[in-house]
Amino acid sequence: MLRRDLRLSLRHGSDTLAALLFFVLTASLFPLAIGPAPETLARLAPGIVWVCALLAALLPLDRLFGADFEDGTLDQLLLSGQPPAMVAAMKALGHWLTTGVPLLLAAGPVALMLGMQAEVVPALLAGLLLGTALLSLFGMTGASLVLGARRGGVLLPLLVLPLVAPVLIFGVAAADAVASGQSPRAHLLLLAALLAAALPLCPLAGGAGLRSAAE
């Protein structure tokens, strides 16, 4: 199932590309809006990268289950003999591989473009590595809950954004800690703890969402 999803997203790369372009373009609007003063930009860079990555990861969520729900594939997935939580987990993994990983790869260059000091970048990327996985898990859960609801696309960000707010806070704090000469360890550990909790819980919630959407 994962292979099939990856093959589909490779063949129509537009979803991945759209998220990636959105990320790079919005991040490059900030110097235009705030002004190119290097110290201001460098100060804001972690926040800009994080917010843009978060919003870019939300973009493809609407279609994560939508296409499968409409064309009957979701029914077939639920009848595959795999528990629904497994189906949900695979979808989250697919989202991370097609959206999280490309964002992670683009984040380094974007951060440097915004004038971030080179020694801050590893902490930012470590935070994003955990953070994008969390975004995929929370996003998948939200997407499964609004599946089949009218105007689910409007509801989805309202549901997911409060959940990912702590991720954003700790992620930015990790990069800021390095910038001010402290250790990012505590913030990264908190992110890892969030991931450890979300990893088993989100697929269970997502699976229940898929079940009730099929009913």
Binding site: L8, T73, L78, G81, A214
Partner: protein, 190 residues
């Protein structure tokens, strides 16, 4: 043997059907007939473990199945109104492993490498039916399976159905069209 006892379904506070009971022996077939909206599709989804029953029980080989819906999913093949065909994948990729004999069963072998978006509505339906062969499961649940099929394809589908029943498989089908299911019993919805 598939046995249904006193099954009732409610959808958005409306009773779709109450107290449906029937039994289909191994190798048997049951046709669900009734007007539109009488609950045929709801019953099929419920038997597949996709829907939720308000009352009653479904027994397979004497064991209650609705308690473990994931397990029931592995026992049934379901063809619904949607074909679950991904337009971006080829016909063979849509079926996955073991696609070649399944495609041949519905006469689609020459279209195996064609993207599914090039297929006609009838060909997509044939692809959805070919998935039945692939599943190797005892219970087939079919919702209007021959809608849009030409006579040659209906005949091929008849061969598939006969082979499945000869192996002791069970078929439950909702339809308004004549299906190639000899000696099928009927259940009429009010």
């Amino acid at each position: 043997m598939l046995e249904v006892r006193g099954l009732a379904a409610i959808r958005s506070d409306r009773l779709v059907f109450g107290s449906v009971s029937f039994a289909v022996p191994a190798g048997g077939a049951l046709l669900l007939v009734g007007p539109n909206g009488s609950g045929k599709s709801t019953l099929l989804r419920l038997l597949a473990g996709l829907g939720r029953a308000e009352l009653g029980s479904v027994l397979w080989q004497g064991e209650e199945v609705l308690a473990d819906r994931t397990g029931q999913g592995a026992r049934v093949a379901y063809v619904g109104h949607q074909d679950a065909v991904k337009p971006g994948l080829t016909a063979a990729e849509n079926l996955g492993r073991g696609a070649v004999p399944a495609l041949a069963a519905m006469g689609l072998q020459r279209l195996a490498d064609l993207p599914a978006r090039m297929l006609s509505a009838g060909q997509k339906r044939r692809l959805a039916l070919a998935r039945l062969v692939l599943r190797q499961v005892p219970i087939w649940l079919l919702d209007e399976p021959t809608l849009g099929l030409d006579t040659a394809s209906v005949a091929r589908f008849g061969v598939m159905l006969a082979a499945h029943r000869a192996q002791g498989g069970v078929v439950v089908a909702a339809t308004h069209l004549p299906l190639p299911l000899p000696e099928a019993s009927e259940f009429a919805f009010a």
